[in-house]
Symmetry: C2
Subunit: 346 residues, 2 copies
């Protein structure tokens, strides 16, 4: 019996024990479907627009065209929306209350004002239209909304990063079950992203190429590839810290999603849906989180490469992980890739 | 309304949003007691010693004295034990199978053999004798067992760190409900600990004093102090990433627990029990993890200072935390300290 493997992340100084000795099959994680978050009335469903703050951004269909607007200042709330973006009622980061506040964000070396933005993207008028089951035109609108919010928020002078993420299922932190994503714009580059920016810059300076382009080249030939098409590769990363974790990486080098073309958006919608559906079918609709990793600073243009990381919530990080920063994963990424590959519907 | 605060950890480059705008009271987290992990027969209870591997270490009482031994090689399993240490049945790290393996741990920059140790400390013959409710002599034995295991494991040439931790409650990762802790010895210093070692060394070199001694001096005068006695301070750290998180820090500078005296062990048992009981009473017996942070390398003797970090499991880290490494905590450490202070039984 060989030893368990201690693997290091492609970029982060983060180690994981790939526990082959206690290895579990992906289907071992299948649980009876957990209860959805309960609300008497869903504040995100059509007709309940008055239960939420006015929309910052709305997509509506008019004469066959998608129109972008926002809730009118008159207090009306249109009901014919397709995607609706609202401020989070309990924001972690809030917009500056007055322009002077921006210059005073830094209070000390250890304290800053949490100035920024925290938004909720209601992905569909249909309560259950999550990406794994979404219609393609709708899912493309959601991705468009990600791009539109990134464009608007990243242009603000006090915004240094924009995190676009999705929580699915109560156990993954989704307190409302209506299909939605969140956007948080922060006044600093977050730790994990900064470490990735630094490492990828170091790699670029040493080898004259993007580390993610290199990862795609190597991983698409190996046992951790889940799926690929002309535009994207889906792979189980070498040092996955979550059972069944996978990343969707665009083959075309770009630091972020701002310049995706309509065909690329369509291709991303397709591979996102297909991958999440494969996970859903394989492990009985598990909770998950996903988050975009991207760069908005111009000096990362050549060295950083956006991608989406999907973290199924199938294990609990306990005392060891929390106090050491070292993880234990009981499903090898090779097993995860193989089983997700087989679960993909053509 | 002021902004939420972005606070940085004392040592780590880790930021947390202290969400005063969505602030919750500690008692908001009280939930109906979650089900304990179920097993038909508890393999850790007295009489079931044959369901587990032979004990590596046993404490037994003989003629009023505590005797340290191990399960005999003859296959017998004494039943008159007080604390029983066994190898984990599904070890994340395993001992070297042959001496040559030690020299070959490093396979590449990104791959190592997970050589080390993974043990379970059965804390009491009584199923429910968790620290919050333990008898003091028993809890002192548990702390003695921590010290004994640290002494033995840290002396091995391939062991670079020993993590001693405890998971309590199914939601905090305790798959068995019998009172137990775990010990993992690793062939490298874990990321989080290494970052703490580096930062505390930098502080020591700059100011000629230990950063934790400095923290104790400052925090025992302020609103985050929960409790203190001659030997220990209990405080809610400035940048807690968990609601109700608290640390127990010894006032006497020491890099680890190896040289604790019997009176210090008794004092630690007391403050550990009292603090965990205050948490249990306040939030209806919540799940938690705790982990020792310590140093076993001699060059950290002056700069690092051991302590115990307790992480109540009251929130879910979701897509934002997992993809950025920035946390959101909806209970201010000042509120946590105040309510734990009031919950302490004299």
């Amino acid at each position: 019996m060989p030893y368990n493997e201690l693997r290091k992340d492609y970029l982060l100084d983060r180690w994981v024990v790939i526990a082959t000795e206690r290895s579990r099959r992906p289907t071992d994680f299948a649980k009876p479907k957990s209860e959805a978050a309960k609300t008497a009335v869903c504040p995100m469903c059509v007709g309940n627009e008055n239960m939420t703050p006015p929309a910052i951004m709305l997509y509506q269909k008019e004469n066959g065209e998608i129109k972008r607007s926002q809730d009118p200042l008159t207090g009306e709330r249109p009901k014919n929306w397709l995607v609706r973006v609202i401020p989070n009622l309990y924001p972690a980061f809030s917009p500056p209350k007055q322009p002077e506040d921006i210059a005073q964000i830094l209070k000390s070396e250890c304290l800053r004002d949490a100035i920024g933005h925290h938004e909720v993207i209601i992905e569909s008028p249909n309560h259950d239209e999550d990406p794994a089951d979404a219609e393609f035109p709708q899912l493309e609108l959601v991705i468009n909304a990600y791009i539109d919010r990134l464009k608007e928020l990243s242009a603000k002078p006090y915004v240094k990063y924009v995190s676009i993420f999705r929580n699915y299922g109560l156990e993954a932190g989704a307190s409302l079950s209506h299909a939605h994503s969140q956007v948080i714009a922060t006044p600093m580059v977050p730790t994990t992203i900064q470490e990735e920016l630094n490492s990828s810059k170091t790699f670029y300076d040493a080898y004259g190429k993007c580390v993610f382009c290199d990862i795609i080249e190597r991983e698409t030939k190996g046992p951790r590839l889940i799926s690929e098409d002309e535009d994207f590769a889906v792979l189980a990363p070498y040092a996955s810290i979550n059972p069944m974790e996978f990343w969707i990486i665009p083959k075309k080098h770009a630091p972020n999603i701002l310049n995706l073309t309509p065909p690329e958006i369509a291709a991303f919608a397709k591979i996102l849906k297909v991958s999440l559906k494969a996970l859903k079918d394989l492990v009985n609709d598990p909770p998950y989180n996903y988050g975009f990793h991207l760069a908005i600073n111009s000096d990362a243009q050549d060295s950083y490469h956006w991608h989406l990381e999907v973290y199924p919530k199938l294990a609990i990080w306990a005392g060891f992980e929390k106090s050491t920063g070292v993880y234990i994963n009981t499903v090898t990424p090779e097993t995860a890739a193989e089983s997700l590959r087989k679960s993909i519907k053509p």
